[in-house]
């Protein structure tokens, strides 16, 4: 009903947010783990190529790997130490990938030595894109898409607005919230860089209305000329999805299979821009990030600034378990992945560690009923797909029909349909399988 008056997108769901545990906790730096694991592929695109060899000493902030082409980003050393080895290591994504293992020098000062101020206002758009690539920046919201790629607008498109995504609609996570509260100036700097790079005259920050303190904080530093504004949107999942945000704030729809730049929009996450605004003027690299560690299975929930490559086990030991065999989710509960092992490292795309107890896990439906056509999923799907019918098709392995007639590939796996399904059908999993089968 309220959607008539408020700026939002149709459909969506309202999972309980569970943010109160951590949203008031300032970001605290986590100590360095004795050993850091740095996979060469922490981003969407080609893996970077290593610049170091085993036994080499590196200084915090020094590049460890360089980008392999345009669809790739470099990797910087999160701590001063010695390269122990380069070998296949387990990562959160599952398969083992090549990673640099760094032994941290216990007593080192851990100051960032690679610091070279640069004059941003004199750089061209091309130079800016290259500079962004040099920071190793990727989307910190979870997708890990190289930021500089997003910033290079295709020639046929003209971007007029930069949308800054401060929604953080995933339950439990509060990293973006804390960043907005604590680094409003960095954020503004980042927004200006983004605007210059994509050639937009306007920027809008979209924040869900459960983070009004952050709105207030940002509003205080906004420029007078209205080029950058802030807009509250209703708290609803998946408000933070790129497509949903453009619909909600600008009432524009990203074409199916296309990029936001086709409708004159570039969307960046607040944490990404804040980090960019902090790093780029000094041409530093991305070496640490804020991670929310929370969930019923954690003793000291909070927002931690964690050096990339820190093993999750180390983070968990610091934050404390409540005990009991549960489930470990990297990211939010709606779209995050379960970690197969505690030995995987924190990478650029991990914004949260969520520990569920066994009790929580058992609350989920364990028997799958047939679809009763209740239409809950249809009412939930933000893309207006028909998950009910897609699910039935998937059940009968009619994958081609799903793609040809029912727009399977527009699904971005937000999980809303599975969340509301009373029959407990793992719809998103079905769709992932269907997509995977079709892609092969």
């Amino acid at each position: 009903m309220l959607s008539f008056f408020e700026k939002t997108f149709p459909h969506g769901v309202h999972p309980p947010t569970h943010k109160s545990k951590t949203q008031a906790k300032p970001v605290r730096r986590l100590p360095f783990a004795p050993e850091l694991v740095l996979p060469l592929s922490q981003h969407f695109g080609k893996a970077s190529t290593s610049l170091v060899h085993a036994g080499q000493e590196v200084v915090r902030g020094e590049p460890l790997a360089k980008a392999d082409g345009f669809m790739s980003v470099p990797l910087h050393a999160p701590a001063t130490g010695t390269v122990d080895r380069i070998e296949l290591m387990r990562t959160a994504r599952g398969p083992k990938t090549e990673a640099i293992v760094l032994k941290v020098h216990p007593g080192a000062a851990q100051e960032v030595l690679y610091d070279l101020p640069q004059e941003i206002s004199k750089m061209t758009q091309e130079e800016l894109v290259d500079a962004v690539q040099e920071t190793g920046m990727v989307g910190l919201g979870g997708a890990s898409f190289p930021t500089h790629v997003k910033m290079r607008v295709p020639e046929e498109h003209q971007v007029d607005t930069v949308l800054v995504n401060g929604c953080e609609c995933e339950p439990y996570l509060t990293t973006d919230h804390r960043v907005m509260l604590e680094q409003p100036d960095d954020l503004l700097a980042g927004i200006r860089i983004a605007m210059r790079t994509v050639g937009a005259k306007k920027a809008v920050i979209g924040v869900e209305d459960n983070k009004l303190d952050a709105v207030k904080e940002i509003r205080a530093v906004l420029p007078q000329d209205d080029s950058i504004s802030i807009q509250t949107v209703p708290t609803k999942y998946p408000q933070g999805a790129e497509k949903m945000l453009t619909k909600a704030i600008l009432n524009r729809e990203v074409p199916s299979g296309g990029f936001p730049s086709a409708i004159g929009v570039s969307v960046f996450n607040v944490a990404t821009l804040a980090e960019l605004g902090r790093l780029l003027p000094h041409s530093r690299g991305l070496i640490e990030r804020v991670v929310t560690v929370t969930g019923p299975g954690v003793k000291k929930p909070g927002n931690y600034l964690v050096a990339l490559g820190t093993p999750i086990r180390f983070v968990m030991e610091y934050a404390g378990f409540n005990g009991g065999a549960g489930q470990l989710i990297l990211g939010g509960p709606m779209m995050g992945q379960t970690a197969a092992s505690l030995d995987v490292p924190i990478t650029k795309g991990i914004g949260g560690i969520l520990v569920m107890t066994e009790e929580d896990a058992s609350k989920r439906p364990h028997t799958v009923h047939p679809c009763i056509k209740c239409s809950s999923c249809v009412k939930a799907c933000p893309i207006q797909l028909n998950p009910s019918y897609l699910g039935m098709l998937a059940h009968k392995r009619e994958y081609t029909v799903m793609a040809d007639k029912f727009n399977l590939f527009d699904c971005f796996e937000c999980g809303s349909c599975s969340f509301v399904c009373p029959s407990g059908i793992p719809l998103v999993q079905y769709f992932r399988i269907a997509k995977a089968v079709l892609k092969n």
């Binding site: 309202h14 999972p15 309980p16 497509k243 729809e253 990203v254 074409p255 199916s256 299979g257 296309g258 299975g297 378990f321 009991g324 065999a325 549960g326 489930q327 470990l328 989710i329 509960p333 709606m334 779209m335 995050g336 379960t338 197969a340 505690l342 969520l354 569920m356 896990a361 609350k363 989920r364 009923h369 047939p370 679809c371 009763i372 056509k373 209740c374 239409s375 809950s376 249809v378 933000p382 893309i383 207006q384 028909n386 009910s388 019918y389 029912f406 727009n407 527009d410 999980g415 809303s416 599975s418 969340f419 509301v420 399904c421 009373p422 029959s423 407990g424 793992p426 998103v428 992932r432």
Partner: protein
């Protein structure tokens, strides 16, 4: 903590399970059953018990012979049984009620593979079958609130299996409070042009099927489910709206011949059908527009059958026809997908 469970997202679930929803539907039907008992006494109780048991036994019988897992836990068979009883005349012979229960589950549900795969509302399949099989018994009504209702059965209730039920004409005349006892408000209106007070219809002291008489009670029970978010409010709303608008049009055209729309809304099984049977999820469309079309169609057909058909009640057939049409409605009303400009009808691209 060492044994972490690997699962795909989403990792939280926010909806009541099928069994929970179904259980709540049963709760919502209970007051209606109690009212039916208050109104029609022993016969109504026996009727509800017999249809429910018939449904449960049929369900477990087919589960056993087809080797599928136990599906009684989802309560859907119980709902079918109770709903079926509520749509039958209170004096309906018990053996016929058992037949209806068997047909409802066997033909209406198990034939298609069980809950979720059925295309018609099982309770209505059962009722439509006995309506066609035993047309006399199912149109034999008895008066409500008779004095001895808690001590004796309606004579036709205890008919010997496969035998013709005893005539209730004499019994009706004996227990009748007024001249029209035993005739349903719709029949009175249609065949004799005698209106019934809307107040009576709301509180349900009229004759009729066991559970359809009190429109107000049904409305309240339906609202309970709607507020618990276990019933799609759009379907009952659309059915009632469709019926109201159709009847209003006829009423404006000739108010002497066609009764006023409020009468139509509160009489007969419209309220029960709209709240608990049209809204049955399995047989209704899933698309946002489709749901409204479905409801309006049912409302429209109900009134057309009531006014011009051979029967004085049409909600049952209207819902069955709606069920039959719902795949078509779904196919024709697929919503426009975000970011897709061309519309698709019946899965085909349309410019």
């Amino acid at each position: 903590m060492e044994t972490v469970e690997v699962r795909t997202s989403p990792h939280v679930h926010g909806a009541p399970s099928v069994a929970t929803i179904m259980r709540n539907v049963v709760y919502a039907l209970l007051p209606i059953c109690i009212f039916a008992t208050y109104q029609f006494g022993l016969s109504a109780v026996a009727l509800i018990i017999v249809t429910t048991l018939a449904c449960i036994f049929t369900e477990s019988f087919f589960n056993r012979i087809s080797g599928t897992s136990d599906s009684l836990g989802d309560f859907s068979a119980v709902i079918t049984g109770v709903l079926l009883a509520l749509t039958l005349p209170p004096g309906f012979p018990l053996w016929m009620a058992a037949v209806a229960g068997f047909i409802a589950i066997a033909l209406g549900k198990k034939l298609f593979g069980g809950l979720g795969f059925n295309v018609f509302n099982p309770a209505l399949v059962g009722r439509a079958f006995v309506q066609a099989a035993f047309p006399v018994a199912i149109t034999t009504w008895t008066p409500s609130l008779t004095a001895a209702r808690f001590t004796e059965f309606i004579p036709s209730t205890l008919t010997f299996p496969f035998a013709v039920p005893a005539a209730v004409d004499q019994w009706n005349a004996q227990v009748a409070v007024d001249a029209f006892s035993g005739a349903t408000p719709l029949a009175l209106s249609k065949f004799e042009n005698i209106p019934t007070d809307t107040f009576l219809l709301l509180f349900g002291t009229t004759a009729g099927s066991a559970g359809e008489t009190s429109a107000l009670l049904i409305l309240l029970c339906g609202l309970y489910l709607i507020f618990r978010n276990m019933l799609d409010w759009r379907i009952p709303a659309a059915v009632l709206l469709g019926a109201f608008l159709t009847e209003e049009a006829f009423h404006l055209f000739d108010s002497a011949r066609f009764p006023d729309p409020w009468f139509m809304l509160f009489s007969g099984g419209l309220m029960l059908g709209a709240m608990f049977m049209a809204s049955d999820m399995v047989g209704s469309p899933v698309t946002p527009v489709g749901v409204w079309i479905f409801g309006l169609l049912i409302g429209f057909l109900t009134i057309i059958i009531r006014l011009f058909g051979g029967l004085n009640e049409g909600i049952m057939y209207a819902i069955l026809l709606g069920n039959a049409a719902s795949p078509l409605i779904d196919a024709a009303t697929q919503p426009r997908v975000y970011g897709v400009t061309e519309a698709k009808i019946f899965g085909k691209k349309v410019d």
